[in-house]
Symmetry: C2
Subunit: 315 residues, 2 copies
Amino acid sequence: MIPVIAVDFGGTHIRAAFFPSEIVKPIRQTKIRTEAEEGPYAVIDRIERAIKSVAPADCEGLRIGIAAPGPLDPFQGIILSTPNLPGWDHIPLTKEISNRFNCPVVMNNDANLAALGEWKHGAGRGVDDLIYLTISTGIGGGVITQGRLLLGAHGLAGELGHMRVVQDGPLCGCGQRGHIESIASGLSIAKIARARLQAGEASVMGEIIEDFNELNAEDIGKAAQKGDAFAISIIEDAGKAIGSHLASLVHAFNPARIILGGGVSQLGDLLFTPIWQTLTKEIIHPAYLQDLELKSAELGDHAGLIGATVFARQH
Amino acid sequence: MIPVIAVDFGGTHIRAAFFPSEIVKPIRQTKIRTEAEEGPYAVIDRIERAIKSVAPADCEGLRIGIAAPGPLDPFQGIILSTPNLPGWDHIPLTKEISNRFNCPVVMNNDANLAALGEWKHGAGRGVDDLIYLTISTGIGGGVITQGRLLLGAHGLAGELGHMRVVQDGPLCGCGQRGHIESIASGLSIAKIARARLQAGEASVMGEIIEDFNELNAEDIGKAAQKGDAFAISIIEDAGKAIGSHLASLVHAFNPARIILGGGVSQLGDLLFTPIWQTLTKEIIHPAYLQDLELKSAELGDHAGLIGATVFARQH
C-alpha cells in the first residue's frame, strides 16, 4: 500500500487528490483553475499548491502521479507540447514537481491513464485486453494489452483519435485530415450539425437556439433525447463512424472489452446502438465478437486521477 | 536450447524445417505441395509427412511450431477458417499434430510469426516496439509491443491489413470495404492498373501484355523499374496509401521500427519513398519520428518458419 497524490490537469482545471491506500475514493481532494494563460511555470506553482492542499501530514513513502494532456514523454517526464496549454514546450514537469516535494513523480497522458484507471477499478475489471476511447471535445484513447498499458517506444501510443478513416476528410484539430476526431468528436459533431442547419435542415434546435455558432454537442444530445429526428441522425452518423473505426481497432488489438468515456459517450443508447451495429457488421470474422463487450466508462471525472494512482503504484 | 521443427503452410505449399538450436538457418528442410483441394485431413497427413522428413533421429525435448493462415486461435490451436484452404472450419490442428508426434505443438498465424521472427532474428533486432506489415497478395501484419508479440484476447490481433482507410472504398478480399488491403495489396494494385489501362491510359505494359486480365503486381513492378510513368504512378499511389495508414498505426502503437515484408515490398525505393514521405507528412508530432526507422524484412521466405521456432521456444 503506497500512498499517492494524484494530479489531473488540463487547459481549464487542476485537480489533486490524496489516495492513502489502494482504494478508488480519495480521502481529500481539490480542484482549482489552471489559469493556463499565465504560462507553464505559473501553472506548475498552482499544481504545487494543489498538491500541498491535499497532502498528508506524514509524507513517508509518498509518490505523486500526474495525468496531463499529451503529447508527452512519460519515460522522461516531459510535456512535449499541448494545444490547450500555451507556452508548454518540452517542459520537464516530473522533475519540477519532484524537486519541490522530494519524492518520486510519474506522469502519463490523461487518456492513457483513464484507460489504466478503468481497467483496474472501473468498467475494465476482469479482462486483460481492452480499448478505451474518450469522446469529448476531441477523441483520445488508451489500450491495455495482455495486462499492460500500451506505451510504445516513447510512451506516445494510444492516440486512437488521430487515425485516418476518410481520405481527404475534414480538417482535424491536429492539422491533419480525415481522422476519426474530425468526424465524431464533440466539436466535430457540433460543426457538422451547424453546417446542416445553416443549409436549411429542419430541427427543433432551429427554434431553441438563436445563434447556430453557439451550438454544441450537448445541445444536440438534448434535442436527440427529446426525439428530434435531425439531432438523432447527427448522433447516429457519429456512432456509425466510431463503430467503423472500432471494427478496425478490433482487428488490430482483438480486445475483450471496449470502454467509451467522455461527455459525448453519455448520450447512451443513442450513440451506443449505431456504434455496436456498425462494429458487428464490419468485423471480418465472428471470432472477434465471441465475448467482446461494449461498456460505458464507470469512473467519470475521476478516471485520470485514479489511473495516475495506479501508474504511480506500478512505477 | 530447445530443438524445434517449424512448419509454415498455406494454400500452395507446406514447408517444414528442423532447427536444432537457436540459429536462423535450419539444418534440414523440405517443401511440398499443399494439395489444399483434398481437404483438411489430407493436408494434415501431408504436414505429418513433411515433419517426419526433417525430424531428427532423437526427438527428446522436441517441440513443433506451426505458422498457418489465419484467422486462427493460437491459445486453443484451432484454425477457425481460411479463404485459401477449402473445408478448414474449426480444425484443431495442434491437437492433431501433437497426437501424431507426442510432443508439444504451438501454432500462430503466419504474419504474426513473421513479425516475431523478424524481431528476434531479422530486421527488428534491438527494438522493443515494432510494426511488421507484409504486402503481397493481401496485406497482413504483426506487432511487437514492449518486447512481446501482440496477441489480443483470442490471439486474433495484428490484422493491420483489415482496417478501413477509405469510406465506401473498394471491396476487400474479406468482404468489407475500404480496407488498406483493398487499395494497396498486390491483387489490388493489379486491379487498379487493369482498370486504368482499360480506360485507355498509356503505358509500355499495354505493348508487352496481351491480355490485361493476366496483369499482376510483378509486371507493374518490372515496368516501373524500367521507368514506365504509368507503372510508377500506380506504385506511388499504393505507397501513399500505405504511408498514410502507417501514420495512423504509428499514432496507435508508437513503434521504434516499421518492417515491410512480402513480395510487393521488394519494389524497394519505388514503394518506400512515397511511403516514408506520406508517413512523415501525416504524423501529428515530430516526437513520433525521433528514432523511427522504416526497413525491409530480412528473413524473406524463412520469416514464418523462424518465427514459429521462436514462438515454440517461448511456449
